[in-house]
Symmetry: C2
């Protein structure tokens, strides 16, 4: 590892402010349709915000390899649009009431319109990507989307059941890390990087994505509703076992296992409370375990880009993992 200094949040923001603003404008313009309700739903989803971490990764990946063309703005918007499309369909499936502190789109427009709005966003993302006239880009995006959809189906099959770590990592790769990986790969592709470099940047994205989702899952267990913008412990209430819970299951007493099994099967805290679960996780150091695992992936992400030339973008990429791991929402 070089002794390149890690950037500060302010430096990263200064570096990308204009590009992220351009991507936001691009996202708005791409989400416009002659069919009014699509434009409406699009506007609502964009206004809901989000961390825009996928476009940020794509920008940094391209910048680290010296690419500054317009395609980075278009594809930055495309990855956010694909992410948004998956959220729209996931909210229907999870029967979510809220997303990012507001009513979820299915609550406002109904499931039927949201099925179609999600479909439209997928197609629009591919349509915009098609403008690049690059088969590798289309292959990355289409295969990615298929993997995400398969992941969501796998997750549904596992709801209410105990899963092991291997299954958990496969699920969070598909759910999150896969798109982080592709965002990084797209930046490399735009820069015309050799396969080996694209693979290294992809590896950064994969590691970062795993760290990101592990933390997301920890926050779901521990944060407050007002910080999170959605109900706490919604994973358990949907029957989803995440890393800390899997850890406690493997180390807990018979009674601990039974308590966790009950919540997952009931999909509610009626028989076993949220505090009881937190007590079990606390007793086995399960939340620390999940945090440590996320930190290890964050470090692996940093190591994946050790070979990149020293640039501001690389310094920013070295900053992102800590940002992802240390956030509180």
């Amino acid at each position: 590892m070089s002794d390149l200094q890690i950037a500060t949040a302010k430096e990263v923001f200064d570096l990308l402010r204009d590009d992220l603003a351009a991507i936001e404008r691009e996202f708005v313009s791409q989400s416009q349709s002659q069919v009014e309700v699509i434009t409406e739903i699009g506007r609502y989803l964009i206004a809901g915000g989000g961390k825009r971490i996928r476009p940020l990764l794509l920008l940094l990946s391209a910048k680290a390899l010296g690419f500054e063309g317009d395609s980075r703005i278009r594809l930055g918007s495309v990855v956010e649009m694909l992410h948004t499309a998956t959220l729209v369909h996931d909210d229907i499936i999870d029967e979510a009431d809220t997303r990012r502190g507001r009513p979820s789109s299915n609550t406002t427009w109904g499931n039927s319109k949201c099925v179609l709005a999600g479909d439209w966003l997928y197609m629009q993302a591919f349509n915009v990507a098609l403008q690049e006239q690059n088969f590798h880009i289309l292959d990355l995006l289409i295969s990615l989307t298929q993997q995400m959809v398969e992941g969501e189906l796998l997750q549904m099959q596992k709801l209410g059941h105990l899963i092991n770590e291997e299954e958990y990592f496969d699920l969070i790769f598909r759910k999150t890390a896969c798109l982080f990986k592709v965002s990084m790969q797209l930046g490399a592709t735009l820069a015309g990087a050799p396969d080996a470099i694209e693979a290294q940047l992809g590896e950064y994205g994969r590691n970062l994505g795993l760290a990101f989702q592990i933390i997301d899952d920890v926050l779901d267990l521990t944060a407050t509703e007002s910080t999170l913008g959605k109900p706490v412990a919604s994973d358990l209430r949907e029957g989803k076992a995440t890393l800390a819970v899997i850890h406690a299951l493997e180390r807990g007493t018979g009674a601990d296992r039974e308590a966790i099994r009950t919540v997952l099967a009931d999909r509610s805290f009626q028989r076993v409370t949220h505090s009881q679960i937190l007590e079990i996780l606390g007793r086995h150091g399960s939340l620390e375990y999940a945090h440590d695992t996320a930190r290890a992936y964050a470090e692996a992400a940093r190591l994946s880009i050790a070979d990149l030339p020293d640039t501001d973008a690389k310094r920013a990429l070295l900053w992102v993992p800590a940002y992802v791991v240390d956030r509180d929402r």
Copy 2:
């Protein structure tokens, strides 16, 4: 128009039997996923049958221009797969209980899995199409899908309301004729046909698709449930005004208009019966009007391919319009 003889049904079937069987095998193999439930739903949908008219058009279009490569089998399966994906999502939206005389897939697997299965089929169709390494093919397929999705949303907005003929034709173009058109265009593209020929074949598909959907809509009003494989007059019960109904609305007495308006608004035959509606349509010759319009589009389809060289495939293409217009289900 040349004096080329129109093929018989048997001739068309003999001409395409092997290719259609190959497409069926391709469809089965393309619908396999490591995620079991996708393969299950895929197998169920394929077994449900269907007229396979879209692959048939693609085959005839390619054949009429002398193309016999394997791509015709792959893309024949792709157009049927896209069609199937739209049906899966449409059944969720329409809350359909039956499709092709069997429980619809959402009834068997639930909405959530079917949202994802539809997504997966879209992605798989694009994935297979990507193998052709042809941007025009991808552009046709992605734009098409977006138009179909927009059409479904437009239709939702118009449910329960009176629409005019122009709106009706826009809806049925998006719903049906657009994919017929693209199936023909794909055959031409595979054959490396010049733009003008591709446009003529596309025009054939568009005209044929309009005729097809007009007849579908007439059959929904007049056929029996056992012939149709789905409840009769389901369009009216979903608040959809189709061509014959629009015709009667424009020519009917005040009482006729009121009766139709009531059914569309109620989305049921509780206050006005199905027989009363049929009586109104009969009195104004509305069903004949719809039939005549379909026949005119069928004739326009035949005229669109007048310039093609005389081949067995052209003879078959001259047969299809009558098959589409004269069917009873």
